[in-house]
């Protein structure tokens, strides 16, 4: 197993290098130039020339690629944003936790609701419950996240205003609330700019986690109330997919002979479903969940935009619009790494769930 994992990790290196090169080339193939995006419409040609020279954008693309690869491979430096003059790594530290918190919240809802929905649909095949569930799943897949987000915000933030059910329409936290980072609370005295500080900063940007370990319960509640609506909005599509896959997989398994045998032996129906059928039906469901998790790393542009969350998706979208190459490249690598890690975890989980699978 360990050899298999090591081999998989080593295989990711050429994949990431390939992604770096491809992203670099594609980003620079987009029409338009970073100068106009950064300096605005009033920028003169002379100003743009000076800007491009300052940023190294006037060099041949091969030279730019060489410099970029050298900085990443030797220093682990993604460079500075063209538009914001800030290290891309710092921006990843700020943005990725938001995306992960949103994504996993949505996935939590999707699994928690989607799997039982699929199981119930399969067990009560062709019943009113089954039809209703599948119709609901189709609606969930079809519903535009943008519209759903606005509707949720309208209902919970405006119609239910001044009731206990009120939820904030946008934002990660209430305006003006800035939680204390755990390293400040604990007085760790980390030096700004060091790797340890950056890691601690990254961890502290997970608002839920940071609030729990520092006992900032009011922040935790506030963060939770702000995350409900975007998580629901983002969960509808994976929830529907998970429900449908679970249903079809369960239907397949429920028709197998060993399930009939279990029932014939007088095993309780709940045990038949949960132990004998569901566990064997989970493989395709886990594959789908893995794909969804990978997707979550790329952020959810529409959800983040609708709910004013500054995550990876929004940052990537803005960077593409603004031709901010370092951000595009840096964030894409992070997203790719996310996919690779998730795929690895999915493969490992197969072995755990299905003992017949032997990883060599």
């Amino acid at each position: 197993m360990s050899k298999y994992i090591l081999r998989r990790i080593l295989l990711t290196i050429p994949v990431i290098l390939g992604i770096l090169v491809v992203t670099f080339v594609i980003a620079r193939s987009i029409p338009g130039d970073p100068c106009r995006s950064a300096l605005g419409e009033r920028a003169t040609e002379a100003a743009c020339n000076a800007f491009n020279a300052r940023m190294g954008l006037d060099k041949p693309i091969v030279v730019q690629l060489g410099i970029y690869m050298r900085e990443i491979l030797l220093k682990g430096d993604f460079g500075d944003s063209i538009r914001y003059s800030r290290p891309v790594s710092q921006m990843i530290i700020e943005r990725l936790p938001v995306t992960l918190e949103l994504g996993f919240s949505a996935l939590f809802i999707a699994i928690l609701v989607g799997v039982p929905m699929g199981v119930i649909s399969a067990v009560r095949r062709n019943s009113a419950v089954d039809v209703a569930t599948m119709v609901g799943a189709n609606i969930g897949v079809s519903m535009p996240v943008y519209w759903l987000g606005l509707m949720l915000a309208y209902v919970f933030a405006i119609l239910l205003k001044d009731t206990p059910f009120w939820l904030a329409p946008t934002g990660r936290l209430t305006a003006g609330v800035i939680p204390d980072a755990f390293y400040q609370v604990w007085g760790l005295g980390l030096t700004r700019g060091t790797t340890l500080y950056m890691f601690a900063d990254f961890v502290s940007n997970f608002v839920f986690f940071n609030a729990i370990i520092t006992g900032q319960w009011d922040v935790l509640v506030d963060a939770f109330r702000h995350m409900i609506l975007p998580a629901i909005a983002l969960s509808t599509i994976p929830l529907s997919i998970i429900a449908r896959i679970t249903r079809s997989s369960m239907l397949d398994v429920l028709g197998r002979e060993y399930v009939r045998a279990a029932r014939a032996k007088g095993v309780a129906e709940n045990l038949v479903i949960m132990k004998h059928a569901l566990r064997n039906a989970l493989l395709p469901v886990i594959t789908v969940i893995g794909i969804q998790v990978g997707t979550l790393f790329a952020g959810a542009v529409l959800t983040e935009t609708t709910f004013g969350l500054s995550g990876v998706g929004r940052a990537l979208f803005d960077a593409i619009t603004g031709r901010d190459f370092p951000i595009i490249q840096g964030f894409t690598v992070v997203v790719a790494m996310g996919y690779v890690i998730v795929n690895l975890l999915v493969d490992i989980s197969y072995a755990y769930i299905d003992p017949r699978i032997r990883l060599r």
């Binding site: 009033r42 100003a47 800035i178």
Partner: protein
């Protein structure tokens, strides 16, 4: 070329001469002694050969700064009130090296100071208790941003924001009909126009351009694609700008006359052309794609001209259109005022060296050049009339509309306003609590607004950093801010700004004339060690004052 010198040596030498001569009363000597204590900074270009408008800026005493210009600039006061020309302490500029911390922690004299910038989420300001001016604002103000107009409005309706900028035109009625909200119309002068490049057929023929000007139903465009408060353009420059509407009004829609003129020009059956645009929302053109399609339909129906609509990426479009490369078609573009002066509209577009519309017309830029050195509005009026009439005659472009925007606030917010220039000052907004939330379109890029051009950054900076003069709440007129007055000499080439006494920066230091010179030198002098900023472009310094000093040779 640049000399950062002091008066000290000169004054000492002069005092010694006076003493040696045995002349000069005690009063004069005392005055010189007082002066000798102040070592004023001076930014000096040495000559005007570098091509810019500013010859020197000098701190002659602690509370007096003298701007010496290369030529008269009637827009001087309007320009120096613009947020990029805000003043920060010279020590802060030096300590930060003109970048780094300066990008997120500006130190100014304004009513609010930045407490924290929670990147991606919000900027929290706290009230500056030593502010020199009036402050009715909340003790804490949070600036947030949401890109979607609908989401911004929901924040207001939910009661989680007090003021939101730029509501969507489709939401005007919602705000107007909600007793808990107030709508704030915003008349920032702007113009949407159809541009031609006259270096290629058929647009090298003035009759073709005139025919198109006659063949467009302007009112229909405004009625169908613009929000309330917008209007058909009677001139290129909006009438809110003094001298903007001198001269004859633009052509009325007359399809028949247009067709006749097109036939005279040799195109009785029209011709085939292109219409370039970028699909980017601007107040002057809120619905680019739909307006482009409308113009396409109108030209086909009214003049028989077949138009291919070509959307372009924004940056590429700006680069191609402003450099005059779009010779095989028309282009849709516009302009929003940077500062409240007719030169901002006319001189930029119709100057002798602007390639956007092809060959420049002396009939237009001649009177503009003459007018640009006349400070008195009435004296310059006939020249602007001449220039506007020439624009109408030669049709380098077709002014179509002046767009309007609107913002919204809670009805309970006292003092809510949106000025024509700049952004609302938070210290004038009062919701009766200690906390106020203002939501705008986007996150500021940085808070070093000497080197930023986007409105979102300027709004954020304006609360912190102040300029010598400020714009009015309801007009582009200028009023004292850090300067109690700026007086011009007879030909408006020397401006003496008298600074407000007793003003403190947020770091507790005293504001004086050296801070003014240091802040301006940083932006205007390319060789200044603190000319770093965010991108290092300092666009408005180069653009509004024609050139940087000491630009290194390429």
């Amino acid at each position: 070329m640049k000399k950062l010198s002091t008066l000290f040596a000169l004054l000492v030498a002069f005092s010694l001469v006076l003493a040696a001569c045995g002349s000069g009363g005690t009063a004069v000597q005392d005055e010189f002694s007082a002066l000798a204590e102040f070592e004023g900074l001076k930014l000096d270009a040495g000559s005007c050969d570098y091509g810019g408008k500013v010859l020197s800026i000098e701190a002659v005493d602690e509370l007096t700064v003298v701007f010496t210009l290369c030529k008269p600039d009637p827009a001087f006061e309007a320009k120096i009130a613009f947020t990029p020309f805000g003043i920060q302490p010279q020590e802060h500029l030096a300590r930060t090296g003109g970048s780094g911390e300066l990008l997120e922690n500006p130190i100014g004299t304004g009513p609010y100071q930045v407490a924290e910038w929670d990147r991606g989420n919000q900027i929290v300001y706290t009230r500056f208790d030593d502010y020199w001016g009036e402050s009715n604002g909340a003790s804490t103000v949070t600036l947030r941003w949401l890109t979607e107009g609908a989401a911004r409005l929901q924040e207001l309706q939910a009661g989680t924001a007090d003021y939101v900028s730029n509501i969507s035109p489709s939401d005007y009625a919602t705000v107007q009909n909600d007793p808990n909200l107030q709508i704030l119309y915003h008349q920032n002068p702007n113009v949407f126009y159809i541009g031609f490049t006259n270096t290629a057929s058929p647009y090298d023929n003035v009759d073709v351009r005139r025919a198109i000007a006659l063949g467009i139903d302007y009112q229909r465009i405004v009625d169908n694609f613009y929000p309330d408060g917008s209007e058909v353009a009677s001139h290129f420059t909006p009438c809110a700008i003094p001298n903007g509407c001198e001269g004859e009004s633009w052509y009325e829609f007359d399809a028949e006359a247009g067709r006749a003129l097109l036939a005279e020009a040799g195109y009785p059956d029209g011709f085939t052309t292109r219409l370039y645009y970028r699909d980017v929302f601007r107040v002057y053109l809120p619905e680019p794609a739909r307006v482009a399609t409308e113009i396409q339909a109108q030209l086909q129906e009214n003049l028989g001209i077949t138009v291919e609509v070509v959307p372009m990426e924004s940056g590429e479009f700006i680069a191609a259109s402003t450099s005059g490369e779009l010779t095989d078609g028309m282009h849709l573009l516009g302009w929003g005022a940077d500062y409240p002066h007719v030169t901002n509209f006319m001189d930029f577009h119709f100057g002798a060296n602007n390639p956007q519309f092809g060959n420049a017309h002396a009939e237009i830029y001649g009177p503009l050049q003459e007018a640009s050195s006349i400070a008195d509005v009435a004296t310059a009026a006939p020249l602007y009339a001449e220039a506007n009439n020439a624009v109408k005659e030669l049709v380098p472009l077709i002014p179509v509309a002046h767009g309007a925007a609107a913002h919204a606030a809670l009805a309970s917010l006292q003092g809510a306003y949106y000025p024509p220039f700049g952004a609302p000052q938070f210290n004038f907004l009062n919701n009766g609590t200690d906390s106020l939330v203002f939501v705008q379109n986007a996150e500021p890029i940085s808070l070093d607004c000497a080197d930023e051009t986007d409105g979102e950054s300027l709004t954020a900076c304006q609360q912190v950093v102040e300029t010598l003069l400020e714009y009015g709440k309801d007009s582009g007129a200028t009023f004292p801010e850090l300067a109690t007055s700026c007086d011009a000499n007879a030909d408006s080439t020397v401006w003496t700004c008298h600074l407000r006494d007793g003003v403190k920066f947020h770091d507790g230091s005293d504001f004086d004339a050296d801070d003014v010179v240091a802040s301006w030198a940083r932006g205007l002098d390319a060789s200044n060690p603190y000319h770093v900023g965010n991108t290092g472009s300092f666009d408005y310094y180069g653009y509004l004052w024609d050139s940087f000093m000491n630009v290194p040779a390429e």
